[in-house]
Amino acid sequence: MSASIEIAGVSKVYDGGVRAVDAVAMDIRQGEFFSLLGPSGCGKTTTLRMIAGFEIPSAGAIRVDGADITHVPAHKRDMGMVFQNYALFPHRTVAENVAFGLRMRGLDKASIATKVKAALAMVELSGLEDRRPTQLSGGQQQRVALARAIVIAPRVLLCDEPLGALDKKLRQQMQFELKQLQKKLGLTLVFVTHDQEEALAMSDRIAVMNGGRVEQVGTPAEIYNQPTTRFVADFIGDTNIFRGERTTTSAGGPALDVGKGLILALPASIETQGTGVLSVALRPEKIRLSPADGTAASARGVVENTNFLGGAVLYRITLGGGHRVLVQQPNAGTDRLFVPGNGVTLDWTPADLVVLKD
């Protein structure tokens, strides 16, 4: 039966004082697809390894369904794990690899055989039972690793960048299959990745990590639309970040003076009487672009670079004052395409500006 995991103020300090994980706290719900996302060295893998029991936290506690497992050895945690590069046993066949966890649990031969068969069928590897891992393709090895981890019906499935070694097409297919499987089995799945698209596509919730700390936990939409920190806004997708002094608009509403003559109206939810320095994020697709003669204008600029993406077009635009802004527009046809040198007006609603913590 799937379990919930509570990570309570967990830190990991290595010999020499390197603080790989710093007071991380998060709750992973039962049956949830939970991703740990961040650049390499952010502490996501160390956090996963502490959940698996390969590392002992220097401080804090890890609880599974409320029970403290911080010091329970790895082999007694009843968690499945899919390793980066799979870690399949090279001296054993596919079937033996999948059967390993069942053997360790002392199951009889007949039920092992049945379960192995079912698991291999589930990952569509029937018929390859007697192959050695080295005789399989990367995708097949990945499936064996998955079958080996889920055949023991683990309370939690841990995945350490499991798709990182696959090429793009195969990765997308495996993302889909893994997600399907997780839903079907109702698995609590902790997924470590540095690929934000992968995390956004697959997760129920994401914890974005940086420098050993959790920056933000939320659904993919929350993480994307309401990044709370500058790091999250920057790391997830493309974004325009402005930093400036608090001021007020001519109408008396809250605003931000980002210099070079540009004053951004802030969302109405921000209290008007504020001072100090603030950063805001504005997603490129939230900006509407029209020819220079357009009326409604938040700002004006000149197209510097046009990047045709197929379904969308990405423009790099230099504003009158010198700010550079990324703008993404849906592809509305060749005749609506701006080319470098075109003068444009930019328009957005203040509500689309997201205020960031530094």
């Binding site: 390793f83 001296h91 360790m104 990367g138």
Partner: protein, 287 residues
């Protein structure tokens, strides 16, 4: 993965073209290659051939060309109680040495590779140091130690001496496989419910077996042929074959020496083949 697929198409034509482009030089190259290899083989096998000729030649001295073929030296060798005792004793010592050197050496290598011990490099250097020291000094030093401890010259003392000089081989070969060992395999086993002990026997040991086995074979052969360390450590009535051969040589230099050498070579060969067949050296060497 992605890099290898993107690179392989560009490499493939190169490989296909190679034989055509280098056809002429390669022809010569092959002869040179064959000649060098033949020379090396001759160099390696010539002493053995001389020994075999010596062993089969009926005259009591080395004579070339040999005057005939006879098994008289083999008969003399096998009929000699001294030689048979020495042969038996050498085998006993070699087996005991192999077991102790393999167990100690492999454990030491594991501890060194995994233990996170302080001064690992120093320990490795110390472990390998018997190889640097002339073995005769090792033998003499042990002999003096045993004399000081007043334990005489027991068989275990000889085995300890042999273990000392064979340990480096096991440590080295085991460390070599451990160096390339992916520790995630052990984590995978533990994750799947294997206790550390079970992990060792189910995953670690099978995977480091080629190195351990190679070390064990070295240990057996080095012990079986060991002369300098044994020289001081054998006790009256319990002499190893090389020591017995050396002493025999001082009084009788006949084909018995050759016969004994041939038997030693065959025995060493049998042990290697035996290990290969029983624990499957061959299938692992490929790994």
């Amino acid at each position: 993965m992605s890099t290898s697929t993107s690179h392989s198409p560009s490499l493939a034509p190169d490989r296909a073209a190679a034989p055509v482009r280098t056809a002429v030089p390669r022809h010569y190259g092959r002869y040179i290659y064959l000649a060098i290899n033949t020379a090396i083989l001759v160099f390696l096998l010539a002493p053995i051939a001389v020994v075999v000729v010596f062993a089969l030649n009926p005259t009591p001295f080395i004579q070339f060309p040999p005057v005939g073929v006879s098994l008289r030296w083999f008969e003399k060798f096998f009929a000699s109680r001294d030689f048979m005792q020495a042969l038996g004793f050498s085998l006993e010592v070699a087996v005991l040495t192999t077991v102790s050197a393999t167990v100690l050496g492999a454990s030491a290598a594991l501890a060194l590779a995994r233990g996170n011990l302080p001064g690992t490099r120093l320990i490795v250097a110390t472990m390998l140091s018997p190889l640097m020291l002339p073995a005769i000094l090792t033998g003499l030093a042990l002999f003096q130690t045993y004399v000081l401890l007043d334990v005489g010259r027991p068989t275990w003392g000889l085995v300890a001496g042999h273990t000392l000089v064979t340990l480096p081989y096991v440590v080295r070969t085991t460390l070599a496989v451990l160096h390339n060992f992916d520790t995630r395999l052990e984590e995978a086993a533990q994750n799947l419910g294997a206790s550390p002990l079970r992990t060792f026997f189910e995953v670690t040991l099978p995977l480091i077996k080629p190195g351990v086995l190679a070390g064990a074979i070295f240990a057996f052969i080095v012990s079986f042929d060991q002369f300098p360390v044994s020289l001081f450590l054998v006790s009256p009535g319990n002499e190893t074959l090389p020591v017995t051969l050396f002493n025999y040589l001082k009084f009788d230099l006949d084909g018995t020496i050759g016969a004994a050498s041939v038997v030693s070579i065959v025995l060493a060969f049998v042990v290697v083949i035996g290990l290969d067949r029983t624990v499957g050296l061959r299938s692992y060497v490929k790994l």
